[in-house]
């Protein structure tokens, strides 16, 4: 009985620690996504104002695209949550805007 209780306690502790560990990881990923959204926005504004070169803007676009892909993989099913989806969509839209600025639209 004592062994079973100990096993139950250890299992509970593992579940709890796992649960507590997942959230900071998700928060960190979402913070990265938001950071790249803001970066892409600054890059698009800079390109529109003629302050940066097309080559540089394109490099940042590639980086942002890579960050989006990595975040989607990292978030997995958690990416379906409203908050995460919104962050991912914002980044995707901003990359789109960056591409439009690069085409001169």
């Amino acid at each position: 009985v004592t062994h079973q209780r100990l096993l139950a306690c250890v299992s509970l502790a593992l579940v709890l620690s796992n649960g507590c560990g997942a959230s900071p990881d998700r928060d960190k990923t979402l913070a990265t996504v938001r950071s790249w959204t803001a970066t892409a926005r600054l890059a698009a504004d800079g390109r529109r104002a003629g302050a940066t070169t097309a080559a540089f803007t394109s490099q940042l676009g590639e980086r942002a695209r890579k960050a989006l892909e990595e975040a989607r993989i990292s978030l997995g099913e958690a990416g379906e949550h409203a908050q995460a989806r919104q962050a991912l969509d914002s980044l995707a839209q901003m990359i789109h805007r960056l591409d439009r600025e690069l085409r001169g639209e």
């Binding site: 960190k28 913070a31 990265t32 938001r34 950071s35 790249w36 803001a38 970066t39 926005r41 600054l42 890059a43 800079g46 104002a49 003629g50 302050a51 940066t52 070169t53 097309a54 080559a55 540089f56 394109s58 490099q59 940042l60 980086r63 960050a67």
Partner: protein
């Protein structure tokens, strides 16, 4: 008049030498993530480096020998192997980061992937070392490094709260994520107090023929140069705090730094930032390469001088040739410049005790320094730096693992 000219050049050299791939990256990261809060780490780094440079410069001017030369003689070859290996490893990593920095500047300017630039950049650096003199290497790159003043202009245009910047000179508790905060502190200190800086400075004093008459020049150069250089580094942090922090932009790639001066200065800001990154990293690259060659030549008793034709100091010339091209290889292989820079700065901080602690002994050796040895305030400062270096050694690796991501 001649002395004033030398002082001006020396100050500009120290100023230009302060900014490089690591100090720009860590200050920008600190500003982006913690606003002005990490200004104190830059100030601490500047004070520490100025102290070490003044002391190693004084040691060379009075004894007519470099710090490395005296280190080996005083402590013996068995002890000398430890700082030799540590500084070689650290310098190699920092050198690879600088080559990455120059290559990234070229990528930003041309759109051609940074990996393609690493070997041409190494070749250009090698050519300057092979054909140039110490004066050309030291002062040429430093004068061009004045382009870094653009960070001061950018900060001024953004109208920071100078009282808040001033208040941040006093250390404060992290506003969030303590582990990341302390990791950035170690990175900033590692970028500021890099061993190659004071080893190069000591060798430079011999190359420039400093004697006891130059002790005043040494003092002014070490302090003013580093204060100006550190001031510019502080401006990088201020600009990042005003441009990146409000948008919660965290630097995950070095390319993001290209946006730093776009808001305050537009097109000119972008162009001058790319130029600053190129020039400062290129300058640091040739200085580190020379520093490694000096370290080996002085430690092993070879003929050395950047002012000699390569045929007269063949082993010295061969060393910098091998070092600069080998250090380009990690970049060619695709090493991520920002990640490499961050790891290099932390390793650099961890290596400090091996070159700082022995300096305490040498600076109190009256046989070497006669009446120019350290007085108690200088010893107090050096003990504080030595203790700081030991703390950095202990804290660096755990912080890299927990706060480096």
């Amino acid at each position: 008049m001649k002395k004033w000219g030398e002082i001006s050049l020396g100050v500009i050299t120290s100023m230009g030498g302060f900014l490089e791939v690591g100090s720009i990256a860590t200050a920008a990261q600190g500003g982006a993530e913690y606003g002005y809060q990490l200004a104190w780490a830059i100030v601490l780094g500047v004070l520490g480096l100025a102290c070490l440079m003044e002391m190693t410069g004084r040691l060379s001017a009075v004894s007519g020998r470099t710090y490395v030369d005296l280190l080996r003689e005083r402590f013996g070859i068995r002890f000398f192997v430890a700082p030799l290996v540590a500084v070689l490893v650290v310098s190699f990593m920092v050198l690879a980061s600088e080559i990455g920095g120059v290559s990234l500047a070229l990528q930003m300017a041309t759109g051609v992937d940074y990996r393609w630039w690493a070997l041409p950049v190494a070749f250009l650096g090698w050519l300057l070392l092979w054909r140039g003199t110490f004066g050309l290497v030291e002062q040429g790159t430093a004068l061009l490094g004045l382009v870094a003043l653009v960070f001061a202009v950018g900060a001024w245009k953004l109208h920071p709260h100078w009282s808040a910047v001033g208040a941040a000179v006093v250390p404060s508790r992290p506003s969030h994520d303590g582990m990341r905060y302390w990791y950035l502190v170690v990175s900033i200190l590692g970028a500021s107090i890099s061993p190659y800086l004071y080893l190069f400075y000591s060798a430079g004093a011999i190359e420039d023929g400093w004697t006891q008459e130059y002790l005043g020049v040494n003092r002014v150069t070490a302090w003013l140069g580093n204060l100006f250089g550190g001031g510019l580094n502080l401006m990088v942090l201020v600009v990042a705090a005003l441009v990146f922090a409000p948008h919660r932009i965290r630097l995950d790639a070095y390319e993001q730094i290209g946006l730093l001066l776009v808001s305050p200065l537009g097109r000119a800001g972008f162009v001058l930032l790319v130029a600053t990154l190129f020039v400062t990293c290129f300058g640091a690259m040739v200085e580190i390469t020379l520093s490694v060659a000096y370290l080996l030549a002085q430690g092993l008793g070879w003929q050395w001088s950047e002012n000699l034709p390569p045929s007269l100091d063949a082993r010295f010339s061969l060393t910098y040739t091998v070092v600069i091209f080998t250090a380009a290889l990690p970049i060619v292989a695709g090493a991520e410049p920002l990640a490499l820079t961050n790891v290099s700065m932390v390793v650099s901080a961890a290596s400090l005790p091996l070159t700082v602690v022995p300096l305490l002994v040498l600076m109190n050796d009256r046989d070497v320094l006669t009446r120019h040895g350290n007085k108690w305030p200088a010893n107090l400062a050096l003990v504080a730096i030595a203790l700081l270096s030991v703390v950095l050694l202990i804290a660096a690796v755990p912080l890299q693992l927990m706060g480096g991501g």
